[in-house]
């Protein structure tokens, strides 16, 4: 490694080391803030039997949805899959294992993995199918269930700006799961809209410090909008 220069210039380099059977954690919420080119590279590489961890699974033909087309995903860990017909079909046909996980629990599982916390208690899901088979314990008279962290072999992240040290900022609500995913990858790859020089980002407002980031690549993004709601003047 040449000091802290984490910038790579090809998507092949960005995803180098991805193998069949790995776990990939992806940032994004719906189609907002998804690492669209890193996902496309996974499709190009053709890695199979992946476990993918992401709040959603994209839509038919875009985002993580494209990994369903060649059945690259074996197990999907997500909170919401409502916008994806191919997903629903593979699930109902039994071609895809799906572990539905409450959104807050999913976010916390990623954060916990990055923070060296192997498990935590939450009230979320107690008394529901999500709590079945999990340890229940009362604190202050209220029941909680034990949830374990999720670590990824890769984390794929979409951000706005990064410097070569891997310091990252996100834009608006495209932040969502991205900073959490970034902490949870053995190899964390961030694709950004803009590269800046170290010192250009205010130290107080770095959303993901470079210590979590292994590779940075500048990409071009379609940024598809899922539901264009407007008001007229």
């Amino acid at each position: 490694m040449a000091g802290f220069n984490k910038v790579v210039t090809s998507y092949a380099e960005a995803m180098a080391g991805l193998e069949d059977g790995m776990t990939v954690i992806a940032g994004g919420f719906g189609l907002c803030g998804i690492p669209e080119n890193l996902i496309a590279e996974i499709k190009r590489l053709g890695a199979k039997d992946l476990t993918v961890v992401s709040n959603n699974c994209g839509v038919d033909g875009f985002g993580l949805g494209i990994l369903l087309e060649d059945r690259q995903i074996k197990t999907m860990i997500a909170s919401y899959v409502g916008e994806n017909a191919l997903f629903e079909k593979q699930l109902l046909d039994g071609d895809l294992e799906v572990i539905l996980t409450p959104q807050g629990t999913l976010a916390e599982k990623m954060r916990a993995a990055g923070a060296g916390i192997p498990a935590f208690f939450t009230a979320t899901g107690y008394g529901t199918p999500i709590g079945e088979g999990k340890e229940v314990r009362e604190f202050d008279g209220r029941p909680y269930i034990l949830e374990e962290s999720i670590k990824g072999d890769f984390a794929i992240v979409k951000a706005w700006k990064a410097d070569r040290y891997g310091n990252v900022v996100y834009r608006h609500t495209a932040r969502n799961f991205n900073p959490l995913a970034a902490t949870a990858g053995k190899i964390t790859v961030v694709e950004v809209e803009e590269l800046v020089e170290p010192g250009e980002l205010d130290p107080a407002d770095i959303h993901t410090p470079g210590i979590y980031v292994d590779r940075v690549i500048k990409g071009n993004f379609e940024k598809r909008i899922e539901k264009r709601t407007v008001r007229s003047r």
């Binding site: 976010a107 900073p179 959490l180 940024k223």
Partner: protein, 220 residues
């Protein structure tokens, strides 16, 4: 007459208190934002990471990076904050949101709610709903009182997989506003023109009816 979706939103909005943080679910709850009374300041929390959600954007303001939990393009008010999903659910799970309004398939007399799955038929996932019902002290559930076929959705015991156990205290349907306590639905108000008898007929769980059941007061 059963309430329209807009009227349901209007009635829920009356419950919102000045200076409160409110999370509005997808569907009817989203409409509630349009009926917040004048003079009341409310901060809307959207669980994808936005506190201080504003109106929909004008055409030239639309930004793919600025959406709400329903994946709709939105704006942020002055004084908004944007954060990651772990922080967002820290707020929710930690009990910092004052009021949550969300839809349901079924509720029951013990405050259980089912809203995320119909086995072998519909699997969309729970999204943030399980965290919201576990985290909020104060939840209003909005739903139609019965299915199109006249089957009650206010039950003795939920039949569908639960979203949360024992967490719902208030339900607004198209027919009535009810409180859940002591293992029963307590009828607080009825929709204008809807009789107590109709509500009784369409409520499968135990219903407690006081002597006088006022009609809801809605703006024309």
């Amino acid at each position: 007459m059963a309430l329209t979706r807009e009227q349901m939103a209007q009635r829920v909005a009356q419950e919102i208190q000045d200076g409160s943080y409110v999370n509005l679910g997808i569907g009817i709850p989203t409409l509630v934002a349009n009926y917040i009374p004048d003079g009341i300041e409310v901060m809307l929390q959207s669980e994808n990471g936005l506190l201080g959600m504003g109106r929909y954007p004008y055409e030239d303001e639309v930004d793919a990076d600025m959406i709400n939990a329903g994946k709709e393009t939105v704006t942020a008010i002055d004084g908004a904050a944007i954060f990651d999903s772990a922080e967002s659910f820290a707020m929710i799970r930690g009990g910092h949101v004052d009021l949550t309004v969300l839809g349901a398939f079924e509720v029951d007399v013990n405050g259980n709610i089912a809203s995320w799955m119909i086995p072998n038929k519909l699997v969309k996932g729970m999204g943030g709903a399980m965290d919201l019902v576990a985290g909020a002290e104060n939840i209003i559930c909005t739903m139609t009182h019965a299915s199109k076929h006249g089957e009650s959705k206010l039950l003795s015991q939920c039949e569908l997989p639960l979203t949360g156990a024992g967490c719902i205290r208030r339900v607004l349907t198209d027919l009535a506003f009810l409180e859940i306590k002591d293992g029963a639905f307590h009828l607080l108000e009825r929709a204008p023109g809807v009789s107590v008898e109709e509500i009784e007929r369409l409520t499968a769980g135990k219903l407690v009816v006081p002597e006088h059941v006022p009609e809801m007061q809605l703006d024309a």
